[in-house]
Structure formats: C-alpha cells, structure tokens
C-alpha cells in the first residue's frame, strides 16, 4: 500500500510540475484538442513507466514521449486530420488573440514554413522549450553532438530564410569521433 501511495504521490508531483510545459509543447505543434489528447496520452505513458522517470530530468523525457505521441497522431488517418482541422476552425483557440502580425513575425513564419520538419523541431526545442543540447538530444533520441550539428545547420537555414547576413562568427561544432556512431537527429 505504501508503495502504491508513493507511486501516486510521485505521479501527482509529476503532473503538477510539468503539465503546463508539456501542454505548451503540444500546443505549439498541434490543435488544442489534439494537444490535450497528446498530453493525456503522454502522462498515461508516464504513469505506466513511472519507474523509468527521473524526477530531476523528467521534462525532456516527457517531451520525448509527447513528440512520439504527436507523430503517431499525425500518422493517423486523413479523415481524423480533417476532423481535427474542422474542429480547430469551428472553435477558436482559448489563446488570447494575437496582435497584428509584425513584418518580422510574417517573415519568420515564412522562413519556418520553408524549413524541413526536422529543422523546425530542432529550432523550436532550443528557442521555445529552451532546452540544453543534452536535453534536446534526449527528446530527439540522438547524441548531443549530433543535435548541435543539426541545430547549427537549421539556424543557418533560418538565417537565410529571414534574410539575415551570413555571420562568420558562428562555427559548426567540431565533430568528434563519437558523432559517426551517434544516431542522427
């Protein structure tokens, strides 16, 4: 009984601490309804695999699960996708209405749209989830070195898309011997 109570306490702590962050992660990538479903699914996985969750580093673990859940959602049938889009269109988001998009945000949106999904994910993990290289690499299931290289390339493409001048100061991280063995992001 004590073990079960402890398990429940750990799970409640996990929910209380990370629900908002995981939901924000999902909301940045999908519709409201799908985001809520993805969060529920993510924490269901967390409940089942609670023993694997290190409370100190739970967030990257939860992001990694949420990412897989979202990918799985995306792979679901076209019919479901169409329904989700109709729901999103019919029911405006609870988010506050954004102000008139600035020139920068329009350019940024266009630049992001021109990137591959992998590039976008790498950039968003850095800029929106504000994860360290090690944490973001955990989410993507690759090495920190592979992530840094991917981020460097994605940044260069984003810069080009935004029309920013090339900078010579940003150097790609030096590839190490382990990079070859590490799975790519």
């Amino acid at each position: 009984v004590a073990e079960h109570v402890d398990r429940e306490d750990r799970f409640r702590r996990l929910c209380a601490t990370h629900t908002a962050a995981v939901l924000a992660y999902a909301l940045r990538r999908t519709s409201r309804e799908d985001a809520a479903d993805a969060v529920a699914e993510t924490f269901l996985v967390a409940w089942r695999r609670l023993d694997e969750v290190d409370e100190q580093h739970a967030l990257p673990w939860l992001y990694a699960v949420a990412r897989r859940v979202l990918l799985s959602q995306r792979r679901s049938s076209l019919r479901q996708q169409a329904i989700a889009e109709r729901v999103a269109a019919a029911e405006p988001s609870a988010l506050p209405p954004s102000s008139e998009p600035s020139l920068l945000s329009r350019r940024l949106r266009e630049a992001l749209a021109g990137l591959s999904e992998k590039d976008r994910e790498v950039l968003m993990l850095a800029a929106w989830e504000e994860l360290s290289s090690r944490e973001a690499a955990h989410v993507l299931g690759c090495s920190a070195t592979a992530y840094r290289i991917r981020l460097h390339r994605a940044r260069a493409r984003l810069r080009a898309g935004l029309g920013y001048p090339e900078t010579g100061s940003v150097r790609p991280p030096a590839p190490s011997a382990r990079t070859e063995e590490s799975p790519s992001c």
Partner: protein, 249 residues
Amino acid sequence: MLNAPELIALRDANPVSLDDACRVADALDVPSRLLAVEARPSASSPTAGPIRRHVLVPVLAAAVLLAAVLVATPAWALVRDVLPFWGQPKAPQSVQVQFSSLNLGAPAGMSPRAVSGETREVSRFTFGGSTHTLWVAPAKNGGFCSLWLPGGGGGCSTSGKPLSTGALLRFGVPEWITGDAISTAISNVVIRFSNGTSVRPRIVWVSEPIDAGFFAYDVPQGRRTSRIHVTGIDAYDQSGTLVKYQTFH
C-alpha cells in the same frame, strides 16, 4: 547560443507561453484527466513474498491446469459473468418493430440490417428517474443494435468501434450515460469526474453473437454541478491500456 539573432526572433515569436498553456489546461480540464489515470491498474504489481517449496508443486499443477483452460476459453470470458444471448427472453412484437425501423431510411448499403426477430431482453437499468429495459438484436452487417426502452435512446454498433456512448446533457453536464463496449477490445470502463475522482460502472457482458458489454450510469445529483461533473469515459483493455476515451465538454 540563444543570443543569436535568429533564435532571439524565434523565441520572441513563441506562440504559447506557460500561462497560455495553464489557461488551456483549465479550459479543457486536463489536470483531472491526468489524475484519472490513477484509477487504472498499476503497471507494477505488489512485491511477492518468498514461495515455500512445499506449495510450489500444487501451484505448478494448478498453473498447468489453468493454462489448459486458458487455451480453450476466450480470455475475456474468464474474468466476466457473461450473459448467454440466446438464453435471454425474446422481445415482444412491439419492440421488434422498433428494431425493424432502425433498418429504414439508411442510405443504400448503410442499413445495419438488424435481425429484429431475434431481439432479446438483456437487462434493466434505472437512470433518469425510471427503469429502462435494454433490448439487443444481432445485425447482419456484423455487430448489433440496442435500444434502451422506454426513451433511453440506442443505436447500432456495426463498425467494430470499441466504445460507443450516449448521454443526456443538461447545460452541458451529463445526467446519465449509456454505452456499449466490444468484449474483445475492452475489459473495463472508467467514468471520470472534474474533481479527479472516477467510478467504474456496472457492465453487463453479453455472449456471442453480440460479444459486447453494456452499461448505464445515473450520475448522482451532487455530481451534476459546474464544479463536479462527468468529464469523460475511458475504456481499457485487459492489460490496462487505454483503448478509447470519450470526453464531455
């Protein structure tokens, strides 16, 4: 690295802050959905004590016997009281007519083809202030049709959907809920409330050719408020995996 101009621009364009996410979480009742998972079977089983040697042999013999039974019996039938469909009372003509009407008006090829002449009385449930009889008929297109009479609704489940539900909502709050779950996919149903609690409704399981379980839940008065109300239904398979859920918003 975050001081690079392109990342600063991206960070400033973050479409969802944590405050935004908190508001959406409240609007969609996410916290109670998450805490409802505690009603589910835990993945970790209690630690077993040491097994004494002298009980090991009879236990092994029983396990072999159980394995033989398991091979010969559908898994879901072992853990449930299953009502034999063909042994149930036949429906009177007046009810059969209502099942026949389910076949009418459907677009070409979409009729469930309910076998109204084989309608059976399955059970009685009290909800919405009166007792309703659950009538069930097999369908030629696979699946079954069911009606809660008088006046409790119903329909046909011929597409193999693991969980189908119906509810009476007053001001968006469920007052009673009915549903059916496919036996081969679902073992357990949990009704979740906005305060994080949950209940398991009584399910009447019915044998082939229906192979489904039926439930009705009369929501207590104290749980029909804006603060405490039903938020959803979860359906689990034998291993405790969430197979399907339905939300009420």
